[in-house]
Amino acid sequence: MTNKKVNINADDFSPACIDWSQQETTSSNNPVGFRAGWMRLCKNKGAMVSLVILIVLAIFALVGPYMTHYTYYQTDYKHSFQAPSGDHWLGTDKFGRDQWTRIWQGTRISLYIAILAAALDLVIGVMFGAISGVFGGKVDMIMQRFIDILVGIPHLIVVILLILLMKPGIVTISVAMVITGWVNMARLVRSQIFKIKSQEFIMASRSLGAGSFRLIFKHFIPNSISIILVNLMFTIPSAIFTEAFLSFIGLGLQEPLASLGVLINDGYHSMRSHPYLLLFPAIVIVLLMVCFNLLADGLRDAVDPKMKK
C-alpha cells in the first residue's frame, strides 16, 4: 500500500560482463534463473540461519555418536536413569544407554530417511509426471485416473498398512512413504510440462529429431527444476515427521534402534521423573522440522516470488 523511497547509488552498479566466446554455445540449463534464486535465498535471514543450524545438526549426527566411548545400544543397568553429567552428557535412559549417543544416532536415522524418501520421490514422481505430461492423450488419461484414486486415500492409513505388511525398518518406512508421497510431485511436474510443451524451443528440438526421452531429460526436467526442488524440500520435513510419528505409536522403528520417535516415546513414558529424556530429543526434532520448513519456505519464495503463499 505504501511506496518506499528508493535511493539509487551509482556505485552499486557495474558493467555487465559479456563473454563473447559463450555466444555460440547452446545450453538447456538456465543458470541465470538459478543463480538469481540462490541470491534471493541468501538474503532470506531465516532460511540462512536454518541452513546453518541444519549443517551443524548434520555434523553432530555424523560425528556425535563417536564423541563418547558408548554405543547407542550398549546397556548399563547399574547406571540407568542418570541425570546429565560430565560422563553422560545428556544422561542415560532406563537401560543405562547413553542419551547423547542415542540422540545423534536418532538424528542420523531421521536425516537418512528424509534423504531416501526425497530421492525416491524425485525418481518416481518426476518420471511419472514427465511421462504423463509428454506423451499426453490416452497414456495421460489412464495415469491421471490412477492418481485420482490414490489422492482419495488418506496417506497415513496406507503407510500404516504397508508398515504392517513388511518388516518394520528404515527401508520399509521410506518405501511406504514413497508409495503415496510421489503423487504431488507427479502432478506438479505434469502441469509444468504442459506449460512448457507448446513453446517454440520444444518444437525446434522435436523437428530436429529429438525423441521423447531426450526432451524429458534435456528440456522438460531442467526447465522444471525449481518447482521440483521446492517440492522436494517440503517432502523432507514431512518424511521426518511421518517416521517419528510411526515410531512414536510403536509401528515404526523398534528398540534398540534409536530414532527420534522411539526416543520421544521412551522419554514420554518416564517424563514425570526424568523430563530431560523427553526434552532433548524433542528439542532436536523441533529444530530439524522448523529449520527444514523455513528453508523450504525461503527456497519457494526465492525461486518463484509469485508462488508466495
Binding site: 498398512l161 504392517l164 505388511l165 510419528f245 522440522m289 519456505d297
Partner: protein
C-alpha cells in the same frame, strides 16, 4: 453439475471399494492372528477348527473376501475379534462421541484463533504482531503433534497441575487434547488468512473504499474479511487430514476412548474386522470432505467452475 457430482460419487465408491479390497488382503498378511496363539496350539485339532469355522477363517481367502464385501454392502461390519461378541458398529457408536467432540472443539478453537491471528497480522503487517503470528505459524506447522501434546501434558498437567493429565472424566479433561489438536489448525489457518488478507488489502477496491472515506473498521468488515475468507475453505482438506492423524497419537497420549486410539489398538491386537471398519470410516470421512469442499467452491464463488478445477484446463 449433476453429471459432475455423479462422476465424483462414482469415483468415491470406486476409491472406497479399492481401499476395502486392499485393506482386506493386506490385513490377512499380517503376522499373528487375532487369537492367543499359545492357548490355541494347546487345543485339540477339531476344537481349533471349530473356532476358525465360527469366524469363517477356515474358508478360502477369496470366499472370506466375498462374504465380507456382501455384508459390508448390507451395512454389517461384523463382530470384533478382540472385544468378544460385540458388533463393530456398537463399539464405533460408543467410541465416536469423544473423537467428534475433540475434533469439533479443535476446529472451533483452531479457526477462531487462527483467523483472528491472521487478520491482526495482515493489518499490522511487518510489526511485532505479524512476526509473532508467523512465528506461531511456523512452530505449529513444524512441531510434531505428539511432541506438543507430550510437552503440554508435562507442563500444564504434571508441573503446574492446572488441568487433568489424562483420561476421559469431566469436561476439563477435553481441554488439553483439544488444544493439542487445534495447534496445527491454528498455524495453518493463521498463515493462510494472513496471506489472503495481504493480497486483498492490495486490491484497488480497498483503495477506493479508503478514498471514499470509509472507516478502517468498516473496510475490514465489509470488504477485506469477506473477500479474504473465501479461499480459506481450500485448507479444510489438510485440516481434516491433520485432525485424523492427530487423533491417533493424541487420544493415545491422553488416554481418550475415541476412534483414533481404537485404530492404533486394533492394529496392535490384529483385530481384523476393526481395522477394516476404522480404515473405511477414516477414508469415507476423508473423501466426502474433499467432495464437500470442492462443491463449496462453486457455491461460495460462482467464478470457479467446479469441473474445471483439478487442472483439467491443461489438456482440454
Amino acid at each position: 453439475m449433476k453429471k459432475y457430482i455423479a462422476i465424483r460419487l462414482f469415483n468415491i465408491v470406486a476409491t472406497l471399494f479399492i481401499i476395502a479390497t486392499a485393506t482386506f488382503f493386506l490385513m490377512k498378511q499380517l503376522p499373528g492372528s487375532p487369537f492367543d496363539e499359545e492357548k490355541l496350539a494347546a487345543l485339540p485339532d477339531d476344537v481349533r477348527k471349530q473356532i476358525y469355522a465360527q469366524y469363517g477363517l477356515d474358508k478360502p481367502l477369496f470366499q472370506q473376501y466375498v462374504t465380507y464385501m456382501e455384508n459390508l454392502v448390507k451395512g454389517d461390519l461384523g463382530e470384533s475379534f478382540y472385544y468378544k461378541n460385540q458388533a463393530i458398529i456398537d463399539i464405533l457408536n460408543i467410541r465416536i462421541g469423544p473423537s467428534m467432540l475433540l475434533g469439533f472443539q479443535a476446529i472451533l478453537l483452531g479457526t477462531v484463533i487462527g483467523l483472528s491471528l491472521g487478520i491482526i497480522a495482515a493489518f499490522r503487517h511487518n510489526t511485532f504482531w505479524d512476526y509473532t503470528t508467523m512465528f506461531i505459524a511456523v512452530l505449529g506447522v513444524s512441531i510434531p503433534n505428539f511432541v506438543f501434546a507430550a510437552l503440554l501434558q508435562y507442563f500444564v498437567g504434571v508441573k503446574w497441575g492446572v488441568l487433568p493429565i489424562a483420561y476421559w472424566e469431566s469436561y476439563k479433561s477435553t481441554i488439553m487434547p483439544s488444544l493439542a489438536l487445534a495447534f496445527g489448525v491454528i498455524a495453518v489457518v493463521a498463515r493462510f488468512t494472513r496471506n489472503e488478507m495481504l493480497e486483498v488489502l492490495n486490491q484497488d477496491y480497498i483503495e477506493t473504499a479508503q478514498a471514499k472515506g470509509i472507516s478502517t473498521l468498516s473496510i475490514i468488515y465489509k470488504h477485506a474479511i469477506r473477500n479474504a475468507l473465501i479461499p480459506v475453505i481450500t485448507i479444510l482438506g489438510p485440516v481434516i487430514v491433520s485432525l485424523i492423524t492427530g487423533s491417533l497419537v493424541i487420544e493415545e497420549i491422553f488416554s481418550i476412548p475415541g476412534i483414533g486410539s481404537l485404530f492404533v489398538d486394533s492394529i496392535k491386537m490384529n483385530d481384523y474386522t476393526m481395522i477394516m471398519a476404522v480404515t473405511l470410516l477414516f477414508s469415507a470421512l476423508f473423501v466426502f470432505m474433499i467432495l464437500i469442499i470442492d462443491l463449496l467452491y462453486g457455491v461460495i464463488d460462482p467464478r470457479i467452475r467446479v469441473a474445471g478445477r483439478k487442472e483439467l484446463s491443461h489438456d482440454k
